[in-house]
């Protein structure tokens, strides 16, 4: 019985001390972590909207959506994170759009687990750059093995067709959702 009490007491005390200590450290760290996260989001938002100077969150949709504004507070477009399946797993990206949703300003991949050196070429400019100013009507399309001929086409990466296609698919998926939601919300 004595050992049982000893066991209970010891472990409870260790738990209490651990919990207390962690709570305190978390109290210090939590704001910093939140700030980091905010900074990262902000950076991504502005990365896909090079012109923008400020942003505000759009509350009408049940997911993250930011309206970006110029110096004068005039809306210059949308930035929103979207995700979908890649070659190996999830790809999460930030998509920047003009206010009429007809043109992509830029995209930025936030998280991915694609094949290093191959699938990860989606992060690099030869591919990513193609999205700057890309038309989205009727939807983004891809071509393989040849330079794109239309305004809404991108060329896939050799050897990483699937990853390239995944990006296009995610963009289209996000766009579609956005179009319906914004049309309903009448945000314009």
């Amino acid at each position: 019985m004595k050992t049982i009490i000893a066991m209970l007491v010891t472990l409870t005390i260790i738990g209490v001390v651990s919990g207390g200590g962690l709570a305190m450290i978390s109290g210090w760290a939590a704001p910093l972590i939140a700030a980091n996260k905010k900074a990262a989001t902000e950076r991504a938002i502005f990365l896909v909207q090079p012109e923008a100077k400020q942003y505000e969150a759009v509350a009408e949709v049940p997911y993250e959506l930011y309206r970006v504004l110029d110096e004068g507070g005039q809306p210059t477009g949308y930035s929103f994170p979207w995700e979908g399946n890649g070659f190996q797993g999830n790809i999460r990206m930030m998509i920047g759009l003009t206010p009429d949703l007809a043109t992509i300003t830029a995209i930025e991949v936030l998280e991915q687990v694609e094949t290093p050196g191959l699938g990860t070429m989606i992060l690099e400019d030869p591919f990513r750059g193609q999205f700057n100013g890309l038309k989205t009507e009727p939807q983004v399309d891809w071509v393989k093995g040849a330079p794109p001929t239309k305004e809404n086409e991108v060329q896939t990466i050799t050897g990483a067709t699937i990853s390239s296609k995944a990006i296009v698919d995610i963009v289209n998926d996000g766009l579609a959702r956005l179009r319906t939601d914004l049309a309903q919300g009448g945000d314009k």
Binding site: T3, I4, M7, L8, T10, L11, T12, I13, I14, G15, V16, S18, G19, G20, L22, A23, M24, S26, G27
Partner: protein, 293 residues
Amino acid sequence: MDLNILIAIATMGGLGFIFAGALAIADKKLRVEENPLIGKVNDALPGANCGACGKAGCYDFAVNVVEGTISPNGCPVGGQDTANEVAALLGIEAGTAVKIVARVLCRGGNIEAARKMVEYRGPQSCATMDLVSGGSKMCQYGCMGGGDCVDVCTFNAIYLGDNGLPIVVDELCTGCGMCVKACPRDIIELHPADREVFVFCKSHDDPKTSKEVCEVACTGCGICARKSDGGVVLSDGLAVIQWENFDPEKIPFDKCKTSAICYLRDAFNQMQEGTADADAQKLAADVNPEQKN
């Protein structure tokens, strides 16, 4: 203190409490029986789990001590005190463990033992040669020189000499007995390292056959047995030493025509002479200059 901290403390305290409770119950139900001796021995050890004894850790050492496969003084960290303590627990003496080594009881090398008029083809291992008319030597009892004992020795304490017989290196031999098991003809035996005289033959052949087959076989003449006062007995044509009665002083070594019974060192020296391996002799000379053959 703000609420968050309190919640954290409560959560962790609660979890700790519940876990401890569960463990307490589990402990009651799951307690494992063990040989109390092993636990005691374990407690007596330094607990460094250093592995210097060659075991996985102190507990493993304790198991082995209790099992008897390692001597109480096998823990180099604990030293003599630990050894005594452990020995006391086991009721045996600490330092009395005698070094046991393997001894090859055949001297019928390539020169001494007659070879068949055949060429054996097949795996060069004693175990398999033994299946095919016993390899290429005539003797059905002697060493075939296939080196199975060499192969199984994890300590590299045994090697094949130049005349085809295995030689045991006492310093490396741990007396583990692997070679004894490996020898299909039971030529290798474990003996205390200080035993000097052996009957270097296992042949039960009749005198005539043994003479034909091997220069150094025991012919079973019985001279040593008659003089030894029971230290050597004749069993099915072979002299066998009875160690409890054995006194080397009584053995008329020069009467043994084949020197089947002789001192270990003589057996070795003859082997040295018999082989033309200059290196081995040079080695001997290097280490011990006054001892030149």
